[in-house]
């Protein structure tokens, strides 16, 4: 009796475990690498495996069924850089494992095995307001704003089933009304909202027509499910077909009685938005033209205001149409938002001899060192006027004075020369004629001449020579065309010449006396 009990117990313990273990191996369809390896599990292990396998039957304790695998939805690209007021685009959707193709909408809507239960499946997109930023500054649009699929139980020609599971998102950032509030980088969250219109009547009718093995569409169903990545379509197993047609539809019907009517969050996508610095500056240059003389060096102050969103460093480039003018750009200037700074533009004017209010534009280009392509332009008008001469002011002044003096002397000399010319001619003529007219008795007797001179002197004193010169005509009269002087003047001149001659004679007489005394 005892032996019988022991044998029975052993049979109970060992036989089922062996048989069920074999069954579990048959059902195993995992992709694990060690599944083909021989197992050296002990009895207890086998018993445990047996127990787990038994418990994995539908409705049992360890039963796990994923009706449809999830589709990870994400943003493409993972992060974007955003400029203020610039529309930037990215995509949200689900791609296949390789990341090469967009998944079809039907896959997210539970595939052809379960998608028929809903009359309409709609996915829409909703932005979660960022914590540290106001939604007023964000302008986010989705194209399309929602994607939907309409299914039926009879066939697989569903509206929107093949639609790629994606939407294009355009995002634009405005500046805040309060300029002191700067929108920083943000992780933007977008909820993918799911909405289903469950058709309870369809569920009550049982499995879809195309999923029945007798149906002509069955092959197509299997094919399409494989294309979607479902390696094991649910209705391909006879057990599931029977189970679904009987018990499961009742379960599903009850289960879906309380299906949500409102859209719910299916998944949430995150995207890192890098808000690029807003580089903007205002340059204030002199309104009126800056006056400069030739060869002068000058600094022209320009004011630059940082109107951007962050602390920024601005650099400058200068252009000038006139190659003879040297212009040097101001140095790099770092300014806080709203801060004003002064930059000096160095200018060395051209060494042109004469500039008559020549206007030359100097083009200033300011740019942030972080965004050299975004250029802020301004122009300075440079007015060059004046005369340039090589040398310093003193040097030039001395030269000018010397030149003026030389010219003046030359002028005086020439004018004197022209004045003396006619008088000399006249003098020669009168002197010779007078000498000829002197009586020979005068030469012989010096005493008589002295007496006659003294008499003459008493009668009329000798007038100064200067007055006589002034009275003479300024413009010399040519010798040939000389008009004889008026009678009175002629007489005076003759008298004078006579006096001169007398004086000379007296001088000679005096000299002779001195000689005689010696």
């Amino acid at each position: 009796m005892k032996k019988l009990v022991v044998i029975i117990l052993l049979i109970i313990l060992i036989l089922p475990s062996l048989s069920l273990n074999a069954l579990s191996k048959e059902e195993n369809n995992t992709v694990l690498s060690n599944s083909d390896e021989p197992t050296n599990d002990g009895i207890i292990k086998n018993l445990l495996r047996l127990r787990f396998n038994i418990g994995s039957f539908p409705g049992c304790r360890y039963f796990v069924q994923q009706l449809f695998p999830p589709v990870p939805i994400q943003a493409y690209p993972e992060a974007i850089s955003l400029n203020y007021y610039n529309k930037t685009y990215f995509e949200i959707g689900g791609k296949n494992e390789n990341g090469t193709e967009w998944e079809k909408l039907v896959k997210l809507a539970m595939g052809y095995s379960w998608g028929w239960m809903t009359r309409l499946t709609r996915f829409s997109f909703e932005v979660v307001p960022p914590e540290n930023s106001s939604m007023d500054v964000w302008n986010i649009e989705f194209y399309p704003p929602s994607i939907e699929m309409q299914a039926n139980r009879e066939n697989m020609e569903w509206f929107g089933a093949e639609t790629p599971l994606k939407t294009n998102v355009s995002i634009r950032l405005k500046s805040n009304i309060d300029p002191s509030i700067v929108t920083q980088d943000v992780v933007l969250k977008i909820n993918i909202m799911r909405e289903e219109v469950i058709d309870l009547l369809r569920i009550a009718k049982g499995i879809p027509e195309y999923a029945k093995k007798t149906s002509e569409q069955y092959e197509e169903y299997i094919k399409k499910e494989h294309e979607l990545g479902f390696t094991n379509p649910y209705w391909s197993k006879p057990f599931n077909v029977v189970y679904g047609s009987t018990f499961l539809r009742a379960v599903l019907l009850i289960w879906n009685l309380n299906a949500p009517k409102e859209p719910w969050v299916d998944s949430t996508v995150e995207i890192l938005i890098k808000v690029k610095k807003y580089h903007l500056a205002k340059i204030d240059s002199p309104i009126s033209p800056v006056e400069i003389e030739p060869n002068q060096v000058k600094s022209i102050p320009v004011t630059i205001t940082n109107m951007g969103s962050h602390i920024d460093t601005y650099n400058f480039r200068l252009k000038c149409d006139d190659e003879n003018i040297i212009v040097t750009p101001p140095p790099a200037l770092t300014l806080k938002p709203g801060e004003e700074g002064q930059a000096l533009v160095g200018v060395a004017a051209s060494r042109r001899f004469y500039s008559a209010d020549d206007l030359t534009p100097i083009y200033i280009e300011a740019y942030s060192v972080e965004d050299p392509e975004n250029i802020i332009n301004q122009t300075i008008a440079l007015k060059t006027s004046g005369i340039y001469t090589a040398g310093s002011t003193i040097f030039n002044s001395v030269i000018v004075v010397i030149t003026i003096v030389v010219i003046l002397f030359l002028f005086i000399y020439l004018s004197k020369k022209y004045k003396q010319k006619p008088r000399k001619i006249k003098e020669k003529k009168t002197a010779t004629s007078y000498i000829k007219s002197i009586p020979s008795g005068i030469k012989k007797s010096s005493n008589k001449i002295t007496e006659s001179f003294k008499k003459y002197k008493k009668e009329k004193p000798i007038e100064p020579q200067k007055e006589e010169i002034i009275q003479e005509p300024q413009i010399p009269i040519p010798e040939e065309k000389m008009i004889p002087p008026p009678v009175e003047t002629k007489i005076d001149a003759d008298k004078y010449m006579k006096e001169q001659a007398i004086q000379r004679a007296l001088n000679q007489q005096e000299k002779q006396r001195k000689k005689l005394k010696r």
């Binding site: 694990l32 599944s35 850089s81 943000v186 890192l272 600094s299 060395a348 090589a390 310093s392």
Partner: protein
Amino acid sequence: MIKKFQKVKIIIIFLLIFCSSLYILCPTGKSNPLDQIYECWPSYEFEYNQTLCDKPVIPYSEPRQIPITVKAKISGPNPDIVADKIGGVILIVDISIAEISEGCHASINPPTILFPVSDEYVIANATLSFTIDQYFDAFSLKKIKISLTNEKLGSKTTLVKSLTRNFNISFSVGYEPRLSFSYPENNVKSINPGEIAIFPIDIENWGNDVTTVNIEIIDIPNGWQANIIKNLTLSTNLFGKEAKENVMLNVKPPINFGYHEDRAVIKVKITPVSFTNKSFKGEPQYLYFIVQSEGFSTPGFEMIFAVFAFIFILLPFCRRKNIKIQNKQFRGRNK
């Protein structure tokens, strides 16, 4: 009687063993101790490109993207039994940013990664993107804590329990050189050849580290001389302290004998270098100064010439004066 009692005893024992066996074999009933034999949990391995993280991240720069590899498997008393049976089931793991240093922003994509249930490591990829939008001390360390949380597997009992694991990624803040210049006086000067043009320059450091400023004068025209301090170290303005220094640029024009009308543009190259790590250099900045030298340059010994000239001019006058005096004296003797 005793025999009958023994039979009953045997039957009771047999029934007990049988029922127990049935209970063990048939796992429909709730049995916490036995369920725990099958209960697994996920094990993760987290790998990322360390080289990319070692490269410092400059504040306000473009987002840094780091590929992440997550390996997952199920662990437990009997993971093979579970994995063998439910291997086709997908373990859904949410990957997210649990913590991040202030001033840093990060996202991880995709937000959900999928692993087929396996007792051997299965690989999935994700991308971590992060930026810094505040100025921090250069080379300071920042941290991102990444959290992996899986969804529970099992309906009536837990086969793979939900578990959260955190991993840290650290990175350093990059050096951002930023200098500002101003001229307290001017950047152009007109001088005489003998003079020296002095240009004071104010330099401010707005970078995020103590900065050594290397100063160099380049492209000096022939005959000109210029000098400036070669380097100076500035603390940073960013964190409240004023970091401003004044340097002087001295420019001397050519002083050859003769009249000069020279003009030169003196170019000064300024390069910021991190004081902490000399290998981090900023882009050089250039300052320009216009100097114009105008005037007559004398050789320096012109005074000797002047003295000689003076002597030569005075000498004849003195001689004449002496002769006149001598003549007067002579006449006086004669009288």
